[in-house]
Symmetry: C2
Subunit: 463 residues, 2 copies
């Protein structure tokens, strides 16, 4: 039987409606969204008084294993003065985890995401090998641990299988990267294709994409080979680009091209492409990104933590580049804090207010909420991010009596959600019609936390 969710307020077409229902079929598909119809009798009614219901948020960039690093990398002694020294402790974390621990840590990351209203994760997955660099019998073992974790929590996942070949142009191999490496592009594609086929047989909440790590880690011909394979399968293609200034210099030294000019030359800049970070942009690059209709994957809570810099979201939006959001290193799991930082970092840079307001013809809160939903769906090739008939019912509800938003006028509610609310206000979360969080509780929460605690105990404070 269908279920008719009847919240106090329902967010459709960019605003909140009263007396609306979201009807969901037993297979988790949205049947209808609109005014509550008196005559319908075949649906079981699920009233949600005091709740607003919104489309689930989409986190396009996660390295779930890095959840184990939280708390271990906020001092100079442990993780040094910058991004590059931070990488070393991150590599030690990557080397330390067993396959079962990778599952436990991913579950913790996905549990926290679910509780924060995130219903889809794009997992940029680069752990493939054993800690000594030998292959597992199944070259996709660790990818499948992460998928299994998502399935256990109930969150939708797009597994972006990552290619990592080298430390960088004229750099000797870094032993910290040994679990990531696949030197041969053909072998990489065979393994990727195997995983792609296995995922095709899994539930619809699991899909597949490709992720050449970066211009630094994947040389040009390898990149050409794997990206043309991705294009031939119409896969989402994600890549770290221009996170740190040193990457730009290295790219120019190797190719006499800036990163986005190189990617353009290779034909990568298409609507299937998402450039993660894209912070340190060079002259002429925004035009190329816009022409290719790519997405930029911004991760402000991580970018501030890693000292990456501030995205020029204003220029990107004006050029017509789509922006989606990711939590990345899981230092904070708050999709709305991510959204508001895009705007507030620009206020700090320009000493102006409402910098993004009205761009693309959208009011500021609607624009920022779109980044957390609709743009993410486009980036990951998932059919969610809005509540429309025929789409999967991925949504979350918030408690309208939460102090950050209580008493808001309806026309101010989205503003207050985007600028002032924290994840504690989120109550129910559904993926493909299945309620995975009820009253801010996940049924496996205690067990997931206990397994994560054991991993933390084993890792200890010194990685």
């Amino acid at each position: 039987m269908n279920i008719s969710y009847q919240p106090e307020l329902l967010f459709v077409d960019g605003r909140f409606h009263q007396h609306y229902a979201l009807e969901v079929s037993s297979d988790g598909t949205i049947v209808s969204v609109g005014p509550i119809a008196q005559s319908r009798t075949e649906a079981s009614i699920h009233k949600l008084p005091g709740r607003a219901l919104l489309p689930g948020m989409i986190d396009i960039h996660s390295h779930s294993f890095q959840r184990a690093l939280r708390g271990k990398a906020e001092s100079r002694r442990r993780s040094g003065p910058d991004f590059w020294s931070w990488r070393n402790i991150m590599y030690r974390c990557a080397l330390a985890l067993t396959p079962e621990e990778i599952y436990d840590v991913a579950r913790m990351a996905f549990l926290e995401m679910a509780l924060a209203g995130i219903t889809t994760v794009g997992e940029f997955h680069y752990l493939h090998r054993t800690p000594t660099g030998s292959p597992y019998d199944d070259p996709n073992l660790l990818a499948k641990q992460v998928i299994r974790a998502a399935d256990s929590v109930g969150i939708r996942i797009v597994l972006l299988r990552c290619a990592y070949v080298r430390s960088g142009f004229e750099l000797s191999p870094d032993p910290g990267q040994i679990r990531f490496l696949e030197l041969d592009a053909e072998k990489f594609l065979r393994d990727a294709d195997t995983l792609r086929n296995e995922i095709a047989a899994m539930p619809a909440t699991v899909t597949f994409g490709l992720a050449p790590h970066s211009v630094r880690a994947v040389p040009r011909e390898y990149l050409r080979t794997i990206s043309s394979w991705a294009h031939s399968h119409a896969l989402p293609l994600h890549m770290h680009v221009a996170e740190q200034p040193a990457e730009i210099d290295a790219c120019i030294a190797e190719y006499t091209l800036t990163p986005f000019h190189l990617l353009d030359q290779l034909g990568l800049l298409t609507p299937d492409f998402t450039a993660i970070h894209a912070i340190h942009l060079q002259p002429g690059e925004i035009e190329r990104m816009a022409l290719g209709k790519i997405t930029v994957g911004a991760c402000p809570t991580t970018e501030r933590n890693l000292g990456d810099g501030i995205l020029c979201a204003d220029e990107l939006i004006d050029a017509g580049v789509s922006i989606a959001l990711g939590t990345d290193s899981h230092t904070q799991t708050d999709a709305l804090e991510n959204a508001r930082e895009l705007e507030s970092n620009l206020r700090l840079r320009h000493l102006q207010r409402a910098v993004l307001d009205g761009r693309q013809g959208e009011p500021l809160p609607a624009l920022l909420f779109d980044f957390a939903t609709r743009s993410g769906a486009r980036s990951l090739h998932v059919d969610t991010g809005t509540l429309e008939p025929g789409k999967p019912a991925d949504f979350f509800t918030i408690d309208l009596s939460d102090c950050a938003i209580a008493g808001s006028l309806p026309e101010e509610l989205l503003t207050n959600i985007v600028f002032s609310m924290s994840p504690g206000a989120i109550r129910d979360v559904a993926v493909a019609g299945k309620l995975i969080v009820n009253h801010s509780q996940h049924p496996q929460q205690v067990e997931i936390i206990e397994a994560f605690r054991c991993v933390q105990q084993r890792l200890g404070a010194e990685l």
Copy 2:
């Protein structure tokens, strides 16, 4: 009878301890903090399993009436492109509120603070007159509405009575400021002294200080008069300084001195002085601030919202200037987000990590948590911010199973609280030994929200 609070973890002397108790007398004073003593029998035991207990956070800079503005000022149409245009809608908000509404809105602000673990608020109060500019029969009516709101919620308040004289150097009067004005310094001090004496007869959770609004709004001789009165009573003295670049230019034009050089000349830079914002600093100013041992009151969540800019907290700390934190305009009520922004804004500016780590000899999370507690107590002349015998028992507890911090090693817990936790993890809050929040609920929450909703309805969307 005394109460012995026995949480799973208790934060004393910069770290978490197991098997510790906080014993509080019936008058709300801390009697002892230390290992649980088996022999004590006279205390009633209040076990807090699964909780960590920390000293209450101190918010040194609040304009509680601006809580009514949340959601109304995040678009160019309503509030323009910058701080100065935002002031206009803020003024309209100030003009719109009745005395009873000022109480209702302040209660909402203080309720949200209490639920976020804030136990003391420094209320920088500048509403004194009726909307037509005439005095109320009681010139402290509105200040007492705010005090009454704090008392109703149970939060400790330092009422900083604000002096506001003019729009600025060579500027004509702004009708939006008409409720703030007191043109005569002697009259201002008579009213302030009346309030000071009335507060002296109130409970110990209410204290008093003075707040000349800014160099712009208070001319030099007026400032000299009221600050020497404040010094004679050893009052905390708070003032907005260097929030926006235009203020610096105006100060130099009027006095041929930068703001801090002017304040130094007037003898204001003492340990009793807190400079709110202090963002746009000029050569030689940090040395003066340090010599005077002043506090800087940083309000990062508001400063990013208003496009004020980034505080050079690194240089201030190195010079020995104390930093405390405020929520200011109440766009977000999250003292820990305030703390982490101090650090993360510097990471964005310098493209470095752990910028403040080790400064003043403190690890980064301890330093940031000190800003939210100990430094605030110093700024406001309150005897809280740490848990020590003889001090008032102001504290909060957090749920150790909250997903942001669950499974943390004890030595990583404070890092995760400061960098990753949101207010939803806060469970119990006590002020002077009285539990004002229990299991994340305040007993008057429903009533406070309902009154606030009525104010929002009456104000409407267009101020």
